[in-house]
């Protein structure tokens, strides 16, 4: 009996020892366990590009930028809650993070990776690089128009331990935008390209369209300097226009779909706090503009009504299918905008062709919005009516609903003339967006100190 028991001990000790030894520490603690099986450590350019484009469509020209400044521009009217508060020009650092941060973390960071990959030895892909540069310039351009100075030269370098990048002046950013677009045009024209542009949800890899887009964005930012550079701005704009978009087919649009609905649609669906503004609706009603039914929905009584400034008229028209349809594309740049730029430049230089460009611009806008030429309406209201800067800016304003351009143009030209909200907390409509809380908190040594009435460089 005793003997048996000893055997049992030995057996058990043996089994345990074997167990401990077989799972040796090194094997149990294999470093490969700490490799995430569900996340890739590298992906191709074509798998990065559509994410950037989607984010641009949603954020750069979506809720946190367009909705706010279109309320200020009285295209929309905030009738409730936060949108109502924004309508009295109350916006703080806490409100702009969701608009500002994706430009860096989602858009430009990943565009920088595409540009690096496009330069990989042996698989140099200037076309991919060019597309990324156009998108980088588009993002930086819209971003700086809203925020002024922004980090670029030291930005996106967290991986190199730069956690708080310095800010570049808007003047230098405008130089960067131009340089990026010039490089893009060179790269897009480069015949030796290894990897074709795929994953492109804007132009499906059509390089000619990307070249036009590069020139069109150049024109946008050239004319934005009209107050700063005078005729030189118009000349530069016209030079770019010459190689820019040639029809609505060239529009730089980000599409939306069932699983990924238009950002303003989603806002109206879940928050419902904005209506069409009376200023825009009254302009459209005055000429029975064919774009009206596409810009606004009828109210319960079957009328198109804009909510008067600060009236909180929740019964007013909701934004219509062109601005807030579930699959309405968001606009990074359009042919019509380009033609307005051309008309303004020619008008400013006293050149022939301003009238034609203006008429083409409105025609392009009406066709894009309504799907119909509406020639009779154009003949009755636009064609032949001598263009002035005021008329042009009104039409550009109508055309630019649900984009950031009316706000950029308003600060540059003061047009159209808008009245201040009765309960305004500022003496004028804000001249910029405030920097987000994340920059105040985590990049405090570099972020410029500004108020909502600090002019951006091109407005000074």
């Amino acid at each position: 009996m005793k003997k048996n028991r000893n055997i049992t001990y030995k057996g058990l000790v043996l089994i345990l020892s074997v167990f401990v030894l077989t799972i040796s520490c090194e094997k149990w603690n294999d470093s490969d366990i700490n490799i995430d099986p569900d996340k890739p450590s590298d992906v191709s350019m074509s798998l990065i590009l559509p994410g950037v484009q989607q984010s641009m469509g949603f954020n750069l020209v979506g809720n946190n930028t367009v909705r706010t400044n279109n309320i200020w521009m009285q295209i929309f009217e905030g009738v409730d809650r936060q949108s109502f508060t924004e309508g009295r020009y109350q916006i703080t650092a806490a409100d702009t993070g969701n608009g500002f941060e994706p430009m860096y973390t989602e858009m430009m960071m990943n565009l920088g990776i595409i540009i690096d990959k496009a330069n990989d030895e042996g698989v140099e892909s200037p076309h991919f690089e060019g597309v990324a540069e156009v998108l980088m310039a588009t993002t930086l351009g819209i971003g700086t128009d809203l925020f002024g100075d922004m980090p670029y030269t030291e930005a996106f370098k967290g991986g190199e331990l730069i956690y708080s990048p310095v800010y570049d002046t808007q003047e230098s950013l405008y130089g960067t935008v131009n340089t990026l677009l010039n490089q893009a045009i060179v790269n897009l024209n480069n015949a030796t390209n290894v990897i074709d542009v795929e994953g492109d949800v804007i132009y499906d890899g059509d390089i000619d369209k990307w070249i036009k887009a590069a020139n069109s964005i150049k024109a946008r930012h050239a004319i934005q300097l009209s107050a700063k550079n005078g005729n030189a701005a118009y000349t530069a704009a016209l030079a770019a226009v010459a190689n820019g978009f040639t029809s609505n087919d060239d529009d730089m649009l980000v599409p939306w779909e069932e699983a990924n609905k238009n950002p303003i649609y989603q806002f109206m669906d879940e928050r419902t706090d904005i209506r069409m503004g009376a200023y825009l609706i009254d302009l459209l009603l005055a000429t029975d503009d064919p774009r009206l039914p596409f810009y606004a929905e009828k109210d319960d009584d079957g009328n198109y009504i804009g909510s008067a400034l600060r009236a909180q008229n929740a019964k007013a028209s909701h934004p219509g299918s062109n601005l807030a349809g579930s699959d309405a594309p968001t606009k990074l740049m359009t042919f019509s905008e380009l033609k307005f730029i051309e008309a303004e430049a020619r008008l400013g230089l006293g050149q022939a062709g301003a009238q034609e460009a203006y008429e083409e611009a409105v025609a392009a806008s009406v066709l894009r919005v309504t799907g119909d030429a509406n020639t009779a309406w154009l003949d009755a209201n636009i064609n032949g009516d001598p263009v002035t800067l005021a008329k042009l800016m009104i039409q550009k304003y109508i055309d630019g609903a649900a984009t950031n351009q009316p706000y950029a143009d308003y600060r540059r030209t003061g047009l159209p003339t808008l009245t201040l909200a009765s309960d305004a907390v500022l003496s004028e409509i804000p001249l910029r967006f405030p920097y987000p809380q994340s920059e105040l908190d985590y990049n405090s040594q570099n972020v410029p100190s500004v108020t909502l009435l600090t002019k951006v460089w091109w407005d000074q």
């Binding site: 806490a94 708080s164 779909e257």
Partner: protein
Amino acid sequence: MKTNLSGILTLLLAFVVHISFAQEKTISGMVSDQSGLPLPGVNIVVVGTTNGTQTDFDGNYTIKASEGQTLLFTYIGQKETRKKVGAGNSINVQMEDDAQALDEVVVTAVGITRSQKGLGYNVQTVEAEAISVKPNADLVNSLSGATSGVQIVSASGEAGASTFITIRGSSSITGNNQPLFIVNGQPIDTGGGDSGTGGVNTSNRTIDINPDDIASLSVLKGGAATALYGVRAANGAIIITTKSGKNLTERRIEFHTSIGVDVVSHLPARQKKYAQGQNGAWIGGNADSWGPEISSLEYDGDTSYRWDPNGSLVPKGTGNGTPAQYYDPYDFFENGYQLNNRFSISNGTEQGDYYFSMSNLEQTGIIPNNTYGRTTVRLNGSTKISDKITFGANMAYTNSRSVQIQKGSNVSGIMLGLLRTAASFDNSAGYEFADGTQRNYRNGGGYDNPYWTANNIAYEEDVNRFTGNINLNVQFTDELSLVYNTGIDWYNTKYTDKFKIGSRAQTGGYLGEYMDFNSVFNSDILLTYRKDISDKFNMSATIGNNFFSDYNKYLFGDATGLEIPDFYQLNNSSANTTSTATANYRTSAVFADLQFSYDDMIFLGFTGRNDWATTMPQQNKSAFYPSASLGFVFSEIGDLKSDFFSFGKLRASAARTANIAPAYSTSNYYEAADGGDGWTGDDNGISYRFPYQGQTAFFVDDDLGNADLKHETQDTWEVGADLRFFKSRLGVDFTYFKNVNTDLLMPVPIAATSGFNSVFLNAASMEAKGIEISVNATPIRTENFTWDLVANYTQFTNIVTALADGVDNVFLGGFTVPQVRAVVGEEYRSIFGEDWYRDANGNVLINDDPTDSFRDGYPMNNTAQGLVPIGNFNPDWTANITNSISYKNLSLSFLIDIKKGGVMYNGTAFAMNKFGVSKRTEKREVYYNTDGSINFDTTPAENLVVMDGVYGHVGADGEVVSSGVANVTPVVQDQEWFQGQGSNFGGGPSIAAMEPADWVRLRDLTFAYNLPEIGDVIKGGQIYFSGRNLWIDTPYSGIDPETNLGGATNAQGMDYFNSPGTRSYTLGLKLTF
């Protein structure tokens, strides 16, 4: 059910009538202690009967007993003494001091049992019986107020809602701060319950434990107590041992049934005077209740107005005469019921023992269709393979199932739709039209009718869990033994998240399907050598090894926009997304434990553990964690012990413990591209994702990894004293502790302009220090009457001493404004928000500048300065007192729980202001003169208020101009105020919504009748009534302030349309056969 219950009761009562057969005589005598002094209050019973008495002040007693019976003498601190009744009538007894009586055995780290007497650190145990009769599904709720140093917050009163437990504050900035749970030596996964600002409250996985299975529960609070758990030790530990058949002499069957009712407790007060609309005009479908007085309106009976069965509201005299009325939306809440049945059978012999149990809990919440259910089965057994080898196994299966209802900041949230509902609208008059569209107070838009939410949106969760371990105990010699304990904790969670078409948060309908698998593996081997080196000098040494792994993987798919209504299947949509993620890590360790004791007086212990963890980079995988502790029982010195002073111990300990990085933090990856704008999107705020346009896409992960991470360090010090008086009838335990956490691992937020939102660093430091005092007393102990009292007091601070370079605060949770943050130099988890303009003395400025845009006579939100600290949820101190009183077979126990200090964001009330539904908006009536001044003749005087502050304004350059003169200008808090700075929506500062969240509450009350032995069948039992939160006194104006929007998360102190708390009443019956 009812019939059965009453049948059993009748039967029981019949047995209570007890007839005794005896030929009794009177015995008398004197009881003395070891030194011969008379002992008053000694309990004496005749064994096998209920006949008993106590000694008087001189130690004398008399009792009736028959020859051959046995008298049992018991007294605290004395050995039990038995005397057989012989022929004589006098029995004198000298009792012996019992060292063991003070020597409660507690289970400490890695299952090592030690005598409480020698511990060099604070360990508290919680009585298993008290846990078993409390009406809480999650045992963590039953630990509330049971010890010192432990803070527990339950998310809400919903069935299956989460709990959040921390011990001695927090030790991590953004990581887990909840303690390690060990069941029978097996670490178990207790995650879950972190719900964000919207969605639903989900359960913590501590809810999977059947509280009736618990035999003992120890709370290990400090580093020295947990040091043997190494990298898992930093947050303290809850050590649970489940029941066994050990020490039983015969088969024992226990049956425990209880039935309970939950009712809604506190709710925010609403105005009942004004109807839906704006500016005194009724507007159907309007968001707000700034309409005319309800008493001035009647219905028009227009049936074409589909939103109200009585038609539109019109001025009195112009409609059909049916008066408008106030509808109380709180009628929505129901009584919640719970039915809990528990059964166990156990037995033990020399050769082995077993314990088998089954339980089933069915619970409905106060919100219609909110349910929780749990079924558990457990089998614990052990057998002696030989004299020296014992083999045991414990296995438990749990099914937890719940249906949760949308809550919080969410247009489908129950309280959001319910509390915003206009005073003149009746939610209960139908939530769905025949065509399937929704009827709500917003005429179809806005927020879901709460009845719609409860009936048409459901989050159905089902968890199947198996936990098991085997253990082998080999006693090689009296001195050398080996314990091997290995086991697993496996569970699978699945949920479906269904939104009917027309739900406000998912207008096209929605289905989410989730499944995960979680696995914890643990193996401990301990070899222990005990040696009595001399009579007085004893030692024991243990060496051991541990392997541990933790694995989690989930799959998620969803469908947005359902084609076939009410058909919840992923294919029923053209918009599907999927996601999956894994988290897997392992650790291994070797450890040693050395204990010395001298003369039952000096107890010295050392431990050391070296851990290796896969989540750390190769060069820093390993780290060493030591501890030392000393217990000095100074009452053993000389003649210190007396009738007054029974026991005294001083203790001191120091330890280093730690935490490791989460899996995959050392390198950088790409992740599926998606994002949100902060306004729209699914439960996770995702508004855009892939697939999109037939493509898939990835972004570089915006959280930067770091290949230079090292282990965190937590250094803890603890000193304390355990003093007992009056033959141990009064005990006082005092502890001072200090935890210093350095190199805390966290994703440090960095400027997004760096291209990343965070980088993982050993960045932060934190410190917690405080005191814990526990008092045990038995003020009265007589033959039939006993009064026991246990009180605990806890006070500590938990300061963030450093974050990363250039970072002085970190987001923990909440909203854009306000939010909960960790801030350098402040108590952990500060609430950050906007504040009023104030002068240099901190006085609120009341605007005196008629030319600016602010209203005169009101304060102004200082948006220019951004977010500042506006309060903290952490209490200044907490205390609890449990009184247990028993008289004969009756006992009453009640727990009073006090929380002093700490504020909470009452965003619910702040938002209700804007909607004109909160009680404070009732005094809104005001008339102005043409110059804008108040017409004091027509404005009701009771509506006038003077806002607290000093006159001042904001100068041209944004500077504060203060007059320093106290404001005396009367104003009315009217619509303009509440739609302006008087609410969050109008741009008011969050500080206006901070309210004290103190409380004094009768947390638990149990009244029980202990059943005597009834015949040969029923050996005992109990009938009890148990209540929870029967009384709460709090200055908080909303729901029960024991709540948290995000559930079990570090971001505490937020109330934004949280679901309310409950009061519970339970009736239970326990029978032992």
